[in-house]
């Protein structure tokens, strides 16, 4: 990675870019699109509601039929689907339903938290890299403190103080990503300020604000956005880990990490309760990593022909 070259998307044709990214990249995009689609349409699927407990089917294997105990009305046992396609969890709740509603939590966290880091961290990093001096030192020092601070303590405090909710979780995780974004943005900006086109802008009498907005930002935004994809992958894992510790989204809201945690006690009798959401989480994180990595090498391929 060479920070001091401007990175722009290659000026090649769409088809050429698509071919260069390879089939695996597009498989990852398709998987992510499917997860997104499932999350958006979660309420319309022919499955039982995610919090309805089917007492006759605790930890049932995939494909188990619906029983009257878990259907809305005894007269119409087919309501809400034909079967538990992926089985039920240890409380008899439908796995498919919980997976698609859990996708909402994972996607919300993986979109909103990096967005906070991207905006705040990116801005601070650009300012630090551009103005240098005291401002730079101050911002870097603040970021060091955030990095050295155990994030878990912050999370627990906010949880106790403001309550456990998805919004708070997103805010805290977003806050904790600020240093990483600011580092990347600062490094990019530091390299850019030395380059000819920035110097040229300065010589033509452009003000600081104009240089920052017109010359620096466009060259920092794209690599930073690609970096955000990798952070998004990490956020899904972080949300999972927190839910796993019981510090994520409060139950009964379904989340993948929570599902994996709930199945932990039943690993010997009903391993699918943990392993299916673990697999879904793995594929989603992998998809984000693949897309981020593919785009990054596309950008760098342009930087070193």
């Amino acid at each position: 990675m060479e920070p001091n070259r401007p990175t722009r998307l290659p000026a090649a044709g769409i088809h050429e870019i698509a071919a260069r990214l390879g089939p695996i990249f597009w498989l990852a995009v398709i998987w992510l699109a499917m997860v997104l689609f499932a999350a958006v349409t979660a309420g319309y699927w022919p499955v039982p509601p995610p919090d309805r407990m089917d007492w006759a089917q605790l930890g049932a294997a995939p494909g188990a039929p619906l029983t009257p105990a878990g259907t809305p009305s005894a007269e119409n046992p087919q309501a809400g689907g034909a079967a538990h396609w992926l089985g039920t969890d240890t409380m008899g709740r439908d796995m498919v339903a919980r997976l698609i509603f859990g996708a909402r939590v994972s996607l919300a966290v993986s979109i909103c938290s990096p967005a906070i880091g991207f905006l705040v961290g990116g801005l601070l990093g650009c300012l630090a890299g551009y103005y240098r001096g005291r401002l730079d030192a101050g911002i870097v020092a603040t970021m060091d403190v955030i990095l050295a601070f155990p994030g878990l303590v912050l999370l627990l405090v906010i949880r106790f103080y403001l309550g456990a909710s998805l919004t708070n979780l997103i805010l805290i995780l977003g806050f904790l990503t600020i240093p990483a974004f600011s580092r990347v943005a600062r490094a990019k900006t530091l390299g850019l300020t030395e380059l000819e086109f920035v110097q040229a802008a300065r010589l033509t009498g452009a003000g600081h604000l104009s240089i920052l907005v017109r010359e620096i930002l466009p060259n920092v935004v794209i690599p930073l956005a690609v970096y955000a994809l990798l952070v998004a992958a990490f956020m899904i894992m972080a949300e999972g880990a927190l839910s796993f510790l019981g510090l994520g989204v409060p139950p009964p809201t379904a989340s993948w990490g929570g599902m994996i945690a709930e199945g932990r006690e039943a690993l010997d009798t009903a391993p699918h309760v943990s392993l299916i959401p673990a697999g879904v989480m793995f594929l989603t994180v992998l998809a984000l990593n693949l897309i981020g990595d593919g785009l990054r090498s596309l950008l760098e391929g342009r930087a070193h022909p």
Binding site: F149, P150, F282, V285
Partner: protein, 328 residues
């Protein structure tokens, strides 16, 4: 004259780093203090129990010095810290330092064993990949490694439990045996937790070592060694490995610093009585001084490891030294 000038710059640079290190730790403890005090409810309620009256609570708070202002409490904490006194747990009366010293070895042992396991996996993989770079084996291992990095640590922990203790029944899923009860029994309780960290960490080490090895293998002296007819294993192990291992060892150091704060998941899952668990328990119980102590130790560990790695580079690479002297 130039030598003393250079040395002078170096000392100033290191001194400045040390000062910054101290400031970061100080800031972290101050923020922690503030945060823990913002938590609603306090330890007096926990000690007093459900039957405590308002007077009882007030008495407990006075006895513990909790009725003073936050600043006064922080100042007295700092004052005692200078004398090596971290205070006592509000709940058990156990000295905080002693509690930490009894838990820290567990976390450190976990980290050391996991890094050794990761190294045992990364070393052969990197050697094979670098020697046959671009081959099917290389691509298979590199792709597998990339995929492995998408597995969250708690899922990896779960998978190792599922495989080794549920399916194969080789090892118990949880439980901790102290060192006093026998070295073997103690090591056995670390196998699964360390493995679940190592199975992810090895990829990080492998990638760094692989790319450094590939660079080294293009050097002339390797060509010379090949021309002399030395067998590949000799070239790799005796000639190429050592000059290529520096970055990987650095990364290993950084990982230990990072894991110090993040071991809590693995510790919780496998019921290991380490630092992470101590911290979480203390936060739940509002055991302020214990939280302070833990955060202090974790942040010192993190900052020290990072700076040590930084300084090592500064000492070994004169270019960074000059930049540092000219720049910040």
């Amino acid at each position: 004259m130039t030598a003393t000038w250079g040395e002078h710059l170096l000392v100033t640079h290191l001194g400045r780093k040390l000062l910054r290190l101290l400031l970061v730790v100080l800031a972290v403890t101050a923020v922690t203090f503030l945060m823990v005090h913002l938590l609603p409810g306090d330890v007096a309620y926990t000690i007093g129990g459900e039957t405590a009256t308002a007077d009882d609570i007030r008495a407990i708070r006075e006895a513990l010095g909790l009725d003073r202002s936050m600043l006064a409490q922080y100042r007295s904490w700092l004052g005692r810290l200078v004398h090596g006194d971290l205070g006592r747990s509000y709940l058990t009366g156990e000295p905080v330092l002693q509690a930490i010293l009894s838990r820290l070895p567990v976390t450190l042992e976990l980290l050391v064993i996991s890094q050794l396991l990761a190294l045992a996996l990364a070393l052969p993989a990197a050697l094979i990949c670098a020697y046959r770079s671009g081959s099917h084996v290389d691509r298979l291992i590199s792709t597998g490694g990339f995929a492995t990095l998408s597995i969250p640590s708690f899922v990896m922990a779960l998978l190792t439990i599922y495989l080794f203790s549920v399916k194969l029944r080789w090892l118990p899923a949880t439980g901790y045996t102290p060192l006093q009860a026998g070295v073997w029994a103690n090591l056995k309780s670390f196998v699964l937790p360390a493995l679940s960290i190592a199975l992810i960490e090895w990829v990080v080490l492998m990638r760094v070592l692989r790319s450094d090895l590939i660079t080294t293998l293009q050097q002339h002296y390797i060509l010379m060694a090949k021309a002399k007819g030395l067998p590949p294993w000799r070239i790799l192990l005796l000639h190429a490995l050592r000059p290529s291992a520096f970055t990987m060892l650095t990364v290993m150091g950084l990982q230990v610093g990072r894991l110090l704060g993040e071991a809590v998941i693995v510790e919780t899952l496998f019921a290991l009585p380490g630092m992470g668990r101590l911290l979480v328990t203390a936060i739940y119980a509002r055991d302020h001084l214990m939280v302070q102590g833990c955060v202090l130790v974790i942040s010192i560990g993190y900052v020290t490891v990072n700076s040590a790695v930084d300084m090592l580079y500064t000492l070994l690479d004169p270019r960074i030294r000059r930049e540092a002297a000219v720049g910040t």
